[in-house]
């Protein structure tokens, strides 16, 4: 190859143009914040049976649809693990959450026992992030973030006058997720006399819980992006 005498000048010119273009380029957009909403059970796995006679899998799906709509209205991308009455393996649920690099994941459950909302984080001991984490304990590196996320949900639900209990337990799907992940179990709302005021599949009750969860997720997104 034969270089002319003007080649260095041309190269310098190209470099100057590229530098100017880089300076004028818009700032890198923030990574997309995706929430995974996981309606637990489905298909042959019916879950429990609620006092109203509704199967847990149906109540979970209804709640998932409500939450997805509210989050979508707030400009948050939502990925659901199921949109109909189909069986989804626990590993598949974790795969979905991990593939989209979720900013938060909520696994929705419903029960007839206890009262209010039961929040569960993984019982895995916190661990340092690893390049190749073990599948069954991948959540260990995220437990601290999950517990912080639980605190935000707790505040929002408490603010809405909905009782909350926080616990940690072994959760096969969530234990494999590499994102802040929680199980949210909706129990009946009880009065002072311990009588059930609202069943977990009650539309108004679900709407109140979904609104609180959506508000908490918006707050979580804001807090997560602060330096």
């Amino acid at each position: 190859m034969h270089w002319s005498k003007s080649a260095p000048a041309v190269l310098l010119g190209v470099a100057a143009v590229m530098t100017a273009a880089a300076q004028q380029a818009p700032p890198t957009p923030l990574p997309r914040f995706v929430v995974v909403v996981d309606a637990a059970h489905g298909g042959d796995d019916t879950g429990g049976k609620l006092g109203s006679g509704t199967l847990e899998k149906a109540a979970n799906l209804a709640m998932s649809v409500r939450l997805r709509s509210l989050l979508g209205a707030r400009g948050i991308s939502v990925v659901t693990t199921r949109e109909s009455d189909v069986a989804v393996d626990a590993n598949r649920r974790a795969e979905i959450a991990n593939r989209v690099n979720a900013g938060a994941c909520l696994s929705l459950h419903a029960t007839d026992s206890g009262s209010g909302i039961h929040l569960f984080a993984s019982s895995l001991a916190p661990a340092q992030p690893a390049r190749f984490p073990a599948w069954k304990t991948a959540q260990a590196a995220w437990v601290t973030r999950s517990l912080a996320f639980a605190g935000v949900l707790n505040s929002a639900l408490d603010h809405a006058g909905i009782g909350v209990t926080l616990s940690r337990t072994a959760l096969p799907g969530i234990d494999s997720m590499t994102c802040p992940a929680l199980a949210v179990e909706i129990g009946p709302q009880r009065g002072e006399d311990n009588k059930i005021g609202s069943e977990p599949d009650d539309a108004d009750y679900q709407a109140r819980v979904a609104a609180s969860l959506a508000a908490a997720i918006v707050q979580w997104r804001t807090e997560g992006r602060q330096p």
């Binding site: 059970h41 796995d45 879950g47 429990g48 049976k49 847990e56 459950h109 029960t111 007839d112 026992s113 206890g114 009262s115 039961h118 569960f120 019982s123 009782g163 909350v164 209990t165 926080l166 616990s167 940690r168 337990t169 072994a170 959760l171 096969p172 199980a183 179990e185 129990g187 311990n194």
Partner: protein, 208 residues
């Protein structure tokens, strides 16, 4: 024509066979008499009732998601496995009460066996005498257990914490249902993993 020596040999063999049969029969009778003599079924001694002792039952409460210890007096056998079964039986009797704060049908009969085995090397590195308790539950208990993350977790945690409170060397607990491994208790709580009693103990007394 059969030779004479063959006839004599035949008779001798028949006599020897009969003699051996008689001896064998006598030996069998003698062994049977010895066996019966050693296993007399006559009730010559009164059944031994274990003395009542204080046992700590870590009882669950669905209303506030808490585990609180209660002291009960109950007969406890000397054998560790039987002792564990007796304690868990009383705990599940509490839950079988219609007014229970953590209602679960079934009662004491739901705990079929409790086996105590050496724990994993991890647990033994902290306590040389650490044990793994394998709790075999009845399938009727699992089938009638209310479904839910909270209620199932409370049952598991209260069993683990109760074992730890009464048998301090029990560091790990695994569950079987009718002698088989089972994925979940009633659709939620994972029964395939080994539970650490130290974690259940730390949850004891917790309230929201």
């Amino acid at each position: 024509m059969i030779p004479r020596y063959q006839k004599i040999l035949f008779v001798v063999l028949v006599i020897a066979s009969l003699a051996m049969g008689v001896v064998l029969w006598q030996l069998r009778e003698r062994a049977h008499r010895r066996l019966v003599a050693g296993e007399s079924s006559t009730p010559t001694t009164a059944p031994e009732v274990a003395p009542a002792e204080q046992a700590t039952l870590v009882a669950a409460n669905d209303a506030d998601n808490s585990l609180l210890p209660q002291v009960h007096s109950l007969p406890l056998p000397a054998d560790s496995g039987a002792r564990a079964r007796a304690v868990l039986g009383r705990l599940l009797d509490l839950y079988a009460d219609p007014e229970a704060k953590h209602p679960v049908p079934g009662g004491a009969a739901s705990v079929m066996q409790v086996f105590l085995l050496p724990a994993s090397s991890d647990a033994q590195s902290k306590d040389a005498l650490a044990q793994l308790a394998v709790v075999n539950l009845a399938s009727s208990f699992a089938a009638s257990h209310p479904a839910g993350l909270q209620t199932e977790s409370l049952t598991i945690d209260s069993i683990c914490a109760t074992l730890r409170a009464n048998l301090p060397h029990v560091a790990e607990v695994r569950f079987l249902v009718d002698g088989q491994t089972r994925a979940t208790l009633a659709g939620h709580a994972d029964l395939t993993r080994t539970y650490l009693t130290a974690l259940a103990e730390s949850a004891e007394g917790t309230k929201p």
